[in-house]
């Protein structure tokens, strides 16, 4: 998607917002320009700090979940027996909306950053685990035979087949779950913290009734999600160009 199209879409949304603000004509819906000015003014100050706190929590969760889920997925994808053993467990745990575990994790891990990171980690972990596992298991036996016949043992297969095959799966999993991760970030930041965009939005909206600031927080949170989505997308195109090439010839 071109940058110009995205900018045009942003403009359309902005206009729609402005029209709504005129129609509603109330303090609870300031226009986009007011919010933008507030956003820019606050970005260098208080809001920037909250943004960084939130960003750090998502980033740390992402790194930890990739570091743990990708190898686990690779192992499960390679070992039929292990996968048969563990897949019922994953089958049961995967669909649980991890956000309902917030109170439990808070009780066990306290109100530190750790509890927030763990919640987001739980969401990303299962998503990456399942996608990497399925990707590794879907590698065609013909491909494995061919590479083995060229001399690859376990290490060679891992380095030249399983690892490169799993990278797109990791990035796809991240891209698909960033939206959920940021949504859950908001929820975990509502309680037991005074740092982060969730807190900022809630505090300005419900306690200070400073609506432009509240919307500036919403904007910051949207940009956080959008920015990470774009970053993963760009990374994906960079490391897996083959998935983005057009087929110039059919088989």
């Amino acid at each position: 998607m071109s940058g110009r199209k995205v900018a045009a879409a942003a403009l359309v949304i902005g206009i729609f917002w402005q029209v709504c603000a005129w129609l509603v004509d109330a303090a609870i819906l300031p226009g986009p320009l007011v919010v933008l000015v507030t956003f820019l003014r606050e970005a260098g100050g208080e809001l920037g700090g909250h943004f960084l706190a939130s960003f750090w929590r998502v980033l740390a969760s992402m790194l930890i979940s990739v570091a743990l889920a990708a190898p686990a997925g690779l192992i499960l994808g390679q070992s039929k027996r292990l996968n048969e053993l563990l897949s019922p467990v994953i089958y049961l745990l995967y669909p649980i909306p991890k956000v309902v575990l917030v109170p439990v994790v808070l009780l066990f891990l306290g109100i530190s950053d750790l509890s927030k990171i763990v919640i987001i980690f739980l969401i990303l972990f299962f998503q990456i685990l399942v996608l990497v596992r399925d990707q590794a298991a879907a590698i065609r036996p013909e491909l494995l035979y061919s590479v083995r016949s060229l001399g690859a043992g376990r290490r060679g297969l891992f380095r030249f087949v399983y690892l490169p095959a799993s990278i797109p799966a990791i990035l796809t999993a991240l891209r698909q779950s960033i939206g959920t991760a940021v949504a859950v970030l908001y929820i975990v930041e509502l309680t037991a913290t005074q740092r982060g965009l969730g807190y900022y939005i809630y505090f300005n909206g419900s306690t200070l009734f400073d609506y432009p600031k509240m919307y500036a927080g919403v904007l910051a949170m949207s940009l956080l999600g959008l920015g990470m989505y774009f970053a993963v997308d760009v990374l994906h195109r960079k490391v897996s160009p083959w998935q983005f090439q057009e087929e110039t010839k059919s088989r």
């Binding site: 065609r140 491909l143 035979y145 016949s149 690859a152 043992g153 797109p168 083959w242």
Partner: protein, 257 residues
């Protein structure tokens, strides 16, 4: 070069594919293995490639009983043998990269072989097989014939002395199939490769096999061999001898099936 000594093989839970199977392939010979689907021809190839192992008996290649794939045996499969995420050039030099990765340990790569300039070695074959222009493309972007030539280039770059092919041209159109068949014959004559091509196509077996092994419904006990020494002659496929062989093969296959 390749010897089967009283080989028994079955897949777990299935009946025997080979029972007490003996078969010898001499150095530099060109074999075609022909049979109906399910007769065990691919299994035979995997046994020779060291990707499957007999329950009884031994498969010996170049004097050594196989217990893993042998570095100097090349294997070319029908499809899906290329890494989809690697370019044609990267696929072509995969064998050499693996050798560099392991070093000349005698297990994964030939003992004492020093891998030189990887790109140059593979590039030479890409050039030779007319793939230089598509070197930067991915397998998904090129034709089936080009993909199969890439697989051949990848194997030849590792300097094999045995070339095993499992239905290598089955998914290609007739002209591509024929030109690749000629290529394999040329390469074999140049390098003195021992080749085994597994096929279900009678004409392909008649054109590419100086000796033809016929497999029937399993279990296969003793090999049925048909000599076809004139297959290397130019224009062979227009001769009456060729037509007669094809008829004979068809009759035998029908009798077996």
């Amino acid at each position: 070069m390749i010897e089967f000594h009283s080989v028994d093989f079955h897949y777990p839970g299935h009946e025997s594919v080979f029972e007490g199977f003996d078969w010898q392939i001499g150095e530099g010979e060109a074999w075609a293995v022909l049979g109906p689907s399910g007769c065990g021809k691919s299994t035979l190839l995997y046994l020779m490639a060291g990707l499957r192992f007999p329950q009884r008996g031994r498969v010996v290649v170049a004097g050594e009983a196989l217990d893993k794939p042998r570095p100097r045996t090349g294997l070319i499969l029908q499809d899906y043998g290329l890494l989809p995420w690697a370019t044609v050039a990267e696929n072509a030099n995969l064998g050499l990269r693996l050798r560099k990765f392991y070093g000349p340990d005698g297990r994964h790569a030939p003992q004492g072989e020093v891998v030189g300039d990887i790109d140059r070695a593979a590039m030479g074959w890409l050039d030779r097989l007319g793939l230089a222009e598509v070197g930067a493309k991915y397998p998904g972007q090129i034709s089936g014939g080009q993909r199969q030539r890439t697989a051949i280039a990848r194997t030849l770059a590792t300097d094999p002395d045995v070339l095993l092919m499992d239905e290598p041209f089955a998914s290609l159109d007739a002209p591509t199939r024929q030109s690749l068949g000629r290529l394999v014959r040329e390469l074999r004559q140049e390098a003195g490769l021992t080749t085994v091509i597994v096929t279900h196509a009678i004409e392909e077996a008649a054109r590419l096999g100086e000796r033809i092994l016929l497999l029937g419904n399993p279990p296969n006990h003793s090999p049925v061999i048909i000599d076809n020494p004139n297959s290397v002659r130019i224009g062979y496929s227009e001769t009456e001898e060729y037509n007669q062989l094809c008829r004979q093969l068809r009759a035998r296959l029908e009798a077996a099936g």
